[in-house]
Symmetry: C2
Subunit: 183 residues, 2 copies
DNA sequence: GAGGCCATGTAACATGTTACATGATTGT
DNA sequence: ACAATCATGTAACATGTTACATGGCCTC
């Protein structure tokens, strides 16, 4: 349940409405913690009920502006230093790799090539994002760059792995790889 | 819904019961596609109902042994070459990084150090796994090694990033980093 | 006054986790 | 006969996604 902490964190920067927060999730946090509109509005109500945020202003169109409370800030700080709990790591790609011997080498290579392209494309988008961030200068920006660097390294790693893996497929078909139907 | 394809893939190797498959998920697929007991039994019934697997033997203790059908194999092969659909990338760690200026540098460094240790420890476990795989020789093993290599590279990358990120924190506090409370 | 954006909420559905429940068989 | 393991299933709960529904405000 980090979603609520994402909301709290954004609200520390400045008070905001659900609508504002939704836009922030779609920009700043899109690569880190995506969330949908229905999740946000629901969570905000729960946060208010729990006293972690308060409605500090009401604007036109039923707009409710939320602000973090003392308790909310405390909760956020506690979460920040809490030990990490391992998230389940599911990878459809690796599952496919696992069953590659049911496909032809050509098909398997196509899957890896697709991933390589996706990783490269995503890397490119992150590079653009980094360029955009260079002109900006806010408190979230410095940390954003550190998070972004993770993405850059990850996509790099993925691209390189995909190339390497494709190379493995053709290699020594008599020993390293055997059709499962022949096993 | 790759879970069903994981089941199909395992059943291609050999017919198995839900119980057998559960053990396979806890070993072979633990790092790739974890699943719980209730998920497996439910999915197997649905697969049988859809005609993708069939019950080809019944043993003691109500044991039902499943085998992939023609249709199941076709479904699996189609999935294998289907274009990847991007999975949502949520990272609690990066979310914390995003809000690091709410913590002291010391606290932030502790979070990164913890991640570095986790990555290193996981890397070690994967290395052990690789050693174990060296003695084995099956059709799933060759592919397993390719998937494993992904894990090794990923944990390496994570370890290095965590070190780098910790270095960023102390650096040039007047320009690169500013307390949010001072912003 | 019409279209677009601001703004919030609910409903339906799919997925995932944990715990509970039951019972057969095997080995000692 | 007792414990461990094999074996399957259901229930309760939490989470997440998509679509639906409503209406106010602003600008042209």
């Amino acid at each position: 349940m980090s979603r609520r902490h994402a909301l709290l964190g954004l609200l520390v920067d400045r008070p905001a409405s659900g609508y504002d927060l939704l836009k922030l999730f779609d920009t700043s946090l899109a690569h880190v913690w995506p969330a949908t509109q229905s999740q946000l509005y629901g969570e905000l109500n729960r946060l208010a009920e729990a006293g972690l945020v308060g409605v500090t202003a009401e604007g036109p169109r039923r707009r409710k502006e939320y602000t973090v409370t003392e308790r909310g800030l405390r909760e956020l700080r506690e979460w920040l230093v809490a030990p990490a709990q391992r998230q389940p790591r599911r990878s459809e790609l690796l599952l496919k790799v696992f069953f590659f011997d049911l496909a032809t080498d050509e098909q398997a290579r196509a899957v890896l090539a697709e991933r390589e392209e996706l990783a490269t494309a995503y890397h490119g988008r992150l590079m653009e994002l980094r360029t955009e961030l260079e002109s900006e200068d806010g408190p979230l920006t410095a940390n954003g760059r550190i998070a972004l660097e993770y993405g850059l390294r990850r996509t790099d790693m993925e691209r390189e792995w995909a190339r390497w893996a494709a190379g493995q497929l053709g290699e020594a078909p008599s020993t390293a790889r055997r059709r499962r139907s022949a096993g």
